[in-house]
Symmetry: C2
Subunit: 351 residues, 2 copies
């Protein structure tokens, strides 16, 4: 009388045993029928499948995992609660894995060693197939020891253990992208305003900046190190455009390459306040391509994008191949950045 063709409401999950019994076969046969294994008449197989469908049968992953020693889960460790860096990374990882039926345990360990151990233990207990570590800084370790865990580990946008596999952004390449873009636009007095010396990327990018200038025979203006804030961008403009610029001659910059988008925002605002036009008088390029900031600047900010989602995807895929038993050479893989051109540095080079 009732609609027995509709999938069951699954108040309590239906087991293989129930399917088998309703189809009048053993659980072994039922299992084989549903997995396309074993030999049986097409009629039997179809009958079992139909029964399973009708009952809304879905195999219990826990039981499968126990048997297969493979849980189709991975752990994602991060110490970045709010940040905008690890989020795209995480999203990329998740993207790469969901299609393979792999679920992700998200574990925020803050900077707390105890919490880290807690999470790692929990992940191991739950028999994750692998672990990905990510964080808010590429030059800092997570507060956990991931060596010798018995499962594959991949580092993404965080400092790896020696001998591990890591994916990071190519910051030097990203900086080159920016400075070379200025060069191609005809800018010749290019300054660099960036964050504090305690960040490794500050030095990486600064060196790339110097390299490009040197290669092209341009004068090097010593990079200005400060903080990652708008306020520092303001201040830096004062230093760049007020003072007599030491040895480099005293001419004012016609371009500023900034260490992040907030600094760039400060720089642009400060330039406008002192009557300098962006991009006409001075071009500005930021770093991170933080959309909400880059698009709120006037004019909208050209910025280097680290392709973090792609980085995460790559990390996820690599972990999967490791789990599958394929070998992979240890080392740090740098993934290229890309320049997102908006309006803060003049017309595109091919324009």
């Amino acid at each position: 009388m009732s609609s027995d063709a509709s999938p069951a409401p699954a108040k309590t999950p239906v087991t293989l045993r129930e399917v088998a019994s309703l189809a009048g076969v053993s659980v072994a046969t039922a299992s084989k029928a549903l997995n396309g294994q074993g030999r049986m008449t097409a009629e039997t197989r179809e009958r079992i499948r139909e029964t399973a469908r009708r009952l809304g049968f879905r195999p219990n992953s826990l039981a499968q995992s126990l048997l297969r020693r493979r849980s189709f889960t991975v752990g994602l460790l991060t110490n970045d609660t709010y940040g905008r860096f690890s989020l795209p990374v995480m999203s990329g990882i998740s993207d790469a894995l969901v299609d393979k039926g792999v679920s992700v345990f998200l574990c925020n360990v803050e900077d707390d060693q105890r919490l880290g151990q807690l999470h790692v233990d929990a992940m191991l207990d739950k028999r994750v197939d692998g672990i990905i570590a990510t964080g808010k800084r590429i030059d800092r370790h997570l507060p956990v020891d991931l060596s010798n865990l018995g499962v594959p580990v991949i580092y993404a946008f965080t400092q790896p253990d020696p001998g591990a596999i890591a994916f990071v952004s190519d910051d030097a390449g990203g900086a080159r992208l920016a400075v070379e873009h200025f060069w191609r636009l005809g800018r010749r007095r290019i300054a660099h305003v960036t964050g504090p010396a305690s960040f490794a990327v500050v030095h990486t990018r600064a060196q790339a900046y110097r390299d490009v200038l040197t290669e092209n025979g341009l004068p090097i203006m010593e990079p200005l190190l400060g903080s990652w804030s708008e306020a520092w961008g303001h201040e830096a403009v004062k230093k760049l455009f007020d003072g007599k610029l030491s040895k480099s001659g005293g001419e004012k910059p016609d371009a500023v390459f900034c260490g992040n988008d907030q600094i760039a925002r400060g720089v642009i605002d400060a330039l406008r306040e002192r009557g300098l036009g962006v991009p006409d008088d001075v071009g500005v390029i930021g770093f991170d391509n933080w959309q909400i900031v880059a698009e709120a600047t006037r004019p909208p900010l050209t910025s280097v994008d680290m392709n973090l989602a792609a980085l995460g995807r790559e990390a996820g895929l690599t972990l999967l191949s490791l789990v599958g038993g394929e070998p992979a050479a240890p080392g740090i893989r740098k993934l290229p950045c890309r320049l997102v051109v908006r309006q803060s540095c003049g017309r595109p080079p091919d324009g």
Copy 2:
């Protein structure tokens, strides 16, 4: 000779059977020893415990879950890939659960129904104990059907199904906090600049704004609806301070309550550009307390904080009690906001 006291490297996890065999007892006894169950000599119990410790034994969660019908896992569904709203919520949830040994599956379903179904099925297959749904908008449904799943579901900062349990921020209360703060500071001509009409919170907050003004006998200036951007903040200032303000008399506002921090930022910048002092001439309050924005404005922005982490924590705890079998009344629980006072609206009322 070798350091057999150090925990095993756990290349392959050690099982209870191995512990038992090394301790010279049956697995049953070993299990009871480690769980504090059963009866045995203190000596036996300690010997088993010591063996387990030495081997670095950790029980296989999969096997435990299979038996207990409880996986100590919950699924977290979100459609917010990058947002700053659901991140604190997620963090709060995770916080609340980690201490109880519960791990969280993070599932980003974007706005894709297929992806949603995929994730929900995967979670169910993995026998999550419960599901929490969160999202980027409090007035939109996730693209999934979570009714009648067979596991408890909680909604946090997203639109719930009817009859479900949900936690949301008390937007009306938050708006009251802001407007009443202005009132206590002696501001009497309070404007409201907010986002687009398509957002439910825009109306909720606007109504609360009107209510407070009415209660205190202040003139109502019709809320200005626009977008959530800095640019709109700029534009709104133009409308507020240039035009003849319709029926409300023409006097200029001495306070602006903004729908979010970006609008507030635009408002503050625009006020400064036209020579109006903040907070001396005009007070400004934002919404969301997005730290990085609130602290970059000059002066730093007073803003309404939705306490999203606390909201997440509450949701997590409630889910757990539901999983534990305790009943809970359906309905929407509004959690209070709090006002984070910085420097954009003058000295504190008690100053």
